[in-house]
Amino acid sequence: MGTAVSIELADDLPAARLGELIADVCRWLHEVDARFSTYQPESEVMRLRRGELTAADASEDLRHVLNACADLWRATDGYFDAYAGGPLDPSGYVKGWSVEVASARLAAAGSTNHYINAGGDIRMRGHHPDGGPWRVGIRHPWEADKLSWVLALTDGAIATSGTYERGDHVINPRTGKPAQGLRSVTVVGPDLSLADAYATAALAMGEPGLKWLAKIATDGYESAVVTDDGRAFSSANLPAAV
């Protein structure tokens, strides 16, 4: 299973430098894959699963991931669950987190205007090359070439979870059945690792997720939702483009 990653740097830097920055991001993402993938038998996660590595001896990154998954399990009432499929699978957190870290690295290395889009989950900073904010479309859940919202952001993250792309792959842990009720959930906020996990959890909740999303809006995570029957909802401060 691969995920496409698109990177755009809009900084006024020499081409060679931009190339280095992009190479560094790619290196980091491949490193994350090697260390955390459940498809790579020698990854830290798989060694932890097999008991060859204890949590206490795990790398700082892995310990961070484990703690974050535990926090998210509580914050989402158990709807985000890294142990849902049985053995530990923190992939649902690792993807957003790795992009969040990649963006922070870019910023530290001098790129303050960029976005990274990993499979539809986006972390952006600064401005578009034209000087305005980054305009990001949210894919229409039935018409792949259309947008259901257009947002404008300078610094922040946008994550979307939906049932339209890969079918019933999100399971409601309360029922053990595929999540129903919501077709597409987008969460916008400061941190991509949280936005991504929140979007997935809300999708798993189904329609009660609308209430839960209203609650996290008070923590700075705005949302836009389309239900299975085509109703659209958004939180009050969703940064819609004008």
């Binding site: 995920t3 459940t38 499979g119 946008i158 609650k215």
Partner: protein
């Protein structure tokens, strides 16, 4: 060079956002579950009782028959309702009344274990609107996780190839 773009297709882990399967889920193991500091917000306080007017139960404030001042008949002070318990936990409402007017309403509710989701909370709802199907100019597209294959057919891929 004003900017540079690149699109790379990697094998980034995490495409599988599988949540749940089992009902009898254990809390996340070892290091995760270790810190006892679980609560995100305030803990429910089911045992708390009314502060001033002891014994005046009920979250809706108390109508007194005091003849004086407040037209509303509401006594000033902070009133805690009796905790209402359902299978998901205990909800307790607190009212603050100043000059005979309700100035604040607050509710404690469980945020861990079973049910922040099911108990409605006093926060604004998401607003309903009409679903759009637009084709605006954007720099990037957010959508459900796509595979490498479906990426090829996505709007983001079209954007990337336009810039390449």
């Amino acid at each position: 060079m004003r900017r540079s773009t690149a699109a790379a297709v990697g094998t980034l882990t995490g495409a599988a956002l599988i949540v749940g399967v089992r009902l009898s889920v254990q809390p996340p193991s070892a290091p995760a579950a270790a810190p006892p500091s679980t609560s995100l917000v305030d803990n429910p306080a089911p045992e708390a009782t009314a502060k001033k007017p002891a014994g005046t139960a009920g979250g809706a404030g108390k109508k007194t028959t005091e003849p004086e001042k407040n037209k509303s008949g509401l006594k000033d002070g902070t009133f805690k309702g009796k905790g209402a318990t359902n299978p998901y936990g205990t909800v307790q409402v607190t009212l603050k009344i100043a000059n005979g007017k309700i100035t604040a309403v607050d509710a404690t509710y469980p945020t861990t274990g079973n049910s922040a989701t099911i108990n409605p909370v006093a926060v604004p709802k998401l607003k309903q609107e009409t679903l759009q199907a637009q084709s605006a100019k954007v720099a990037a597209v957010s959508g459900a996780t796509y595979t490498s294959q479906s990426y090829q057919e996505s709007l983001q891929a079209a954007l990337d190839s336009a810039k390449a």
